[in-house]
């Protein structure tokens, strides 16, 4: 479970990126974090992962406070940033094994997962090459595989579908559904409303650092009968 309680973050003492945000996510849910540019999505995600420290409030991952017990909390999730340019001079296989070592994944499990996900994301022949030689989409895939290799109970993904080819995007979406079916949490930020519509059990619409709506899309549509998802999104965010 993810529990975000009254979290705020201000940059340089002026710009309030996240304002008293509260959100609870239950196991088995796929949550789409939707909002315009600069809404506070990435800041929230960074606070959840320990990259940023909130000014106020508490974030708990599976009941563990990320500020009080950072190492235990960090073991609960896998994080894919919006920038996949990481350790570009490591080979794909070296990066995956490095992540497996950091998360202390047993040898048999890491091998089985590398083979499975390399095949799923069509990366088998790229593993022996440096990440530097990969396209943007391939870099995205190797970072995703680096998360999948330690099989976290919470997935936190910042714009994960950007740059993926249709086959890989489909594979990722199917994997997300599978993880949710296994009782895990998948939280991802996106600008693509159609993806959220097809994939998410709930959406959290955020703007100016505040949650404007959190619930199922069916409920949201019911409250705005006859309007498209795009119109609803624009209406909700314009009233922030």
């Amino acid at each position: 479970m993810i529990e975000i309680t009254a979290v705020s973050k201000t940059y340089s003492g002026k710009v309030k990126a996240v304002n008293n945000l509260t959100l609870t996510i239950q196991p088995g849910e796929i949550i789409g974090f939707i909002g315009p540019n600069g809404a506070g999505k990435t800041t929230t995600i960074k606070m959840m992962t320990g990259i940023l420290k909130p000014d106020t409030g508490v974030i708990k991952l599976n009941g563990i406070d990320i500020q009080a017990q950072p190492l235990e909390a960090k073991r609960q999730f896998g994080y894919v940033s919006d920038n996949p340019d990481l350790f570009l001079r490591l080979k794909g296989i070296e990066y995956l094994n490095f992540m497996a070592d950091i998360y202390e994944v047993p040898v048999s499990e890491r091998r089985e997962r590398i083979e499975r996900y390399a095949s799923m994301f069509e990366m088998t022949t790229a593993l022996s090459d440096k990440i530097l030689s990969y396209s943007h989409g391939m870099r995205q895939k190797i970072i995703l595989m680096g998360v999948l290799i330690h099989d976290p109970s919470i997935w936190i993904l910042d714009e994960p579908l950007t740059g993926l080819d249709p086959q890989s995007a489909y594979s990722l979406k199917e994997t997300m559904k599978l993880q949710a079916d296994l009782g895990k949490i998948v939280l991802f930020s996106t600008h693509v409303l159609e993806v959220a519509e097809k994939l998410c059990t709930k959406v959290a619409i955020i703007n100016k650092g505040q949650i404007l709506y959190y619930g199922t899309l069916e409920e949201l549509k019911k409250n705005h009968a006859g309007k498209s998802l795009e119109d609803i999104f624009l209406e909700v965010t314009s009233h922030a």
């Binding site: 992962t49 070592d101 950091i102 890491r110 440096k130 030689s133």
Partner: protein, 547 residues
């Protein structure tokens, strides 16, 4: 012309904006220009003194122009040398190339705008070499006002031909050898050529130093014509520029400018033929896209301790990034070679020196104290020189967030970074101590004790380095070189390390018994090591919260 100008202005602004991010400047950033000026004063002053000494001998012989020829040649060589690195980075591997290739621009427009921006960079070299030598020339020769005008024109155009020559060579290499269109390979090759060049220059300078001043001047005067010929062979405009400056001949100035114009025309024609062909398809590194064989796969997926795997990750990234390999690791080989080269060329033919070295009583406690101090100084020197830990956080750049979300404590991560620095430092220490020990005939036990002292001082510098870089990392950069070469943090380990290294030798005399010095040295270094490790542990949580 309009598109050239627009592109030039945008490229220049973009380059400058990397220097000035528009953010509030920290005290460090504000102090940087002053620090650089102060750092260069001794170099500029020594150039001035050298030029003045030479002029005192050359003026009576009416050969003062030789100094201007040397100045222009040194400038051209330095610019050409730097351009061999700069041109590939600017013409082929900078991030704007892909955008520019898609714009409706002619090849010569792109290349000439990039060349013009490169010229701006090179004026630093022009000023560094030109200012002190010209100052000495002006003070001693007192030339007429026209000299200043001609000199200004000559200096403005000074970087042009060396840059064009480097540009032509790079473009032709790119055209003839498609495999060179790979950033990593190109950087490795040019880096190792530069290393060889640096070692070669160092060794030849050492042998030149053996010649007394009078014979050097005689050689200089005798070589005047042939030297000018050599300048002319490489940069044909230089003899005319020298003539224009010395004899204030505007015709010669016009000829030197016409030659420069000729080079520009050749460059533009070649760039139109070659640039697009070579710039399209340039990549960062090679790739095989082959499935791993079962044996390799099994080997590469073995489990390892997180601290160990993190340390090896650091080392792999350093070795595989050409800029880091050359700046951080090559010193391990380069410094011992340079120092040993100096000793061998200095002592090699000097029988007195050899006899003096052979008569050193190495087992004397007083001598042992100096050996231990030398060991500690070598530890300080080699560890501060490789810049590994003092740039370890800076090298992460925008990827520093990775350190913050993985389930590994900050202290453990910085330990891994320090270990990577220590491994390279210790290699450097060994490469330094063993050959020195053999050449000077130091007994193994003394060498071992010196090695222990160097390890203790090496640990100290590596931990101080990581503390400095944690507190003030340089994380915003576009090219990896900026994280290492343009990182002021390096000064915070190098300068104290050098100072401490020298101070060690002066403290020996303060102890009544040499053994007391040895004991105190070990004890103080050990206590400082423990203190530095404790401070690093205390600093990391707070420092990473700020990053």
């Amino acid at each position: 012309m309009r598109s050239f100008w627009a592109l030039f202005v945008v490229t220049l602004k973009n380059t400058l904006s990397l220097v000035d991010s528009g953010k509030k400047k920290s005290i460090w950033t504000r102090l940087l220009p002053a620090f650089l000026v102060v750092a260069f004063i001794p170099t500029l002053f020594s150039f001035y003194m050298m030029a003045e000494e030479a002029l005192k001998l050359l003026i009576p012989l009416q050969q003062s122009g030789v100094i201007l020829g040397l100045m222009l040649t040194a400038m051209s060589l330095m610019i050409f040398f730097l351009a061999i690195f700069l041109i590939p980075a600017v013409f082929y591997f900078s991030k704007d190339v892909e955008v520019l290739l898609a714009l409706p621009l002619k090849a010569h427009t792109i290349v000439s705008a990039k060349l013009a921006v490169s010229m701006i960079y090179e004026y630093v070299s022009v000023l560094l070499i030109g200012l002190p030598i010209l100052a000495a020339y002006v003070v001693n020769v007192q030339p007429e006002p026209l000299f200043y005008v001609i000199t200004l024109v000559v200096l403005i155009f000074a970087p042009l031909i060396p840059l064009i020559l480097a540009g032509l060579i790079v473009m032709v290499v790119m055209a003839l050898f498609p495999k060179a269109r790979n950033r990593d390979l190109f950087n490795y090759l040019s880096g190792f050529v530069a290393l060889a060049f640096a070692i070669g220059i160092n060794l030849s300078v050492n042998s030149v130093v053996q010649i007394d001043a009078q014979s050097m001047i005689t050689m200089l005067i005798q070589g005047n014509d042939s030297l000018t010929g050599i300048f002319g062979y490489m940069i044909p405009s230089i003899p005319f520029a020298i003539n224009a400056m010395v004899h204030l001949k505007l015709v010669d100035l016009a000829i030197s400018l016409a030659i420069a114009l000729g080079f520009i025309v050749i460059f533009l024609v070649v760039s139109d033929v070659v640039y697009f062909m070579t710039a399209v398809g340039v990549n960062e590194t090679g790739a095989s896209r082959k499935k791993l064989k079962a044996k390799a796969y099994t080997k590469m997926t073995l489990r390892s301790n997180p601290l160990l795997t993190y340390t090896f990750k650091e080392l792999k990234l350093m070795i595989r990034t050409p800029i880091y390999l050359l700046n951080n690791i090559s010193t391990v080989v380069l410094m011992p070679v340079i120092l040993l080269g100096s000793i061998l060329t200095g002592v090699g033919s000097d029988d007195e020196a050899i006899t003096a070295i052979k008569s050193i009583p190495w087992n004397d406690p007083n001598v042992l104290a100096y050996v231990l101090a030398a060991g500690a100084a070598i530890g300080l020197f080699m560890s501060s020189l490789n810049l590994i830990t003092v740039t370890a956080i800076s090298r992460e750049g925008t990827n520093v967030y990775f350190m913050k979300f993985i389930p590994m404590s900050y202290f453990k991560q910085i330990q891994a970074k320090v270990f990577s620095g220590l491994i390279i430092s210790f290699l450097g220490i060994i490469f330094m101590l063993i050959p020195f020990g053999i050449i000077l005939g130091i007994p193994p036990l003394s060498l071992f004790l010196a090695f222990i002292a160097s390890l203790l001082s090496g640990i100290l510098i590596n931990y101080i380095g990581i503390i400095v870089d944690m507190i003030h990392p340089k994380l915003v950069w576009e090219q990896e070189a900026a994280a290492v070469k343009q990182n002021l943090n390096a000064a915070f380990t190098m300068l104290p390390a050098m100072g401490l290294g020298v101070a060690l030798f002066f403290t020996i005399g303060l102890f009544p018994q040499p053994m007391w010095f040895a004991f105190t040295l070990y004890l103080v270094l050990f206590v400082l090591d423990v203190g530095a490790i404790y401070l690093a542990k205390k600093t990391c949580k707070k420092a990473f919260d700020q990053i």
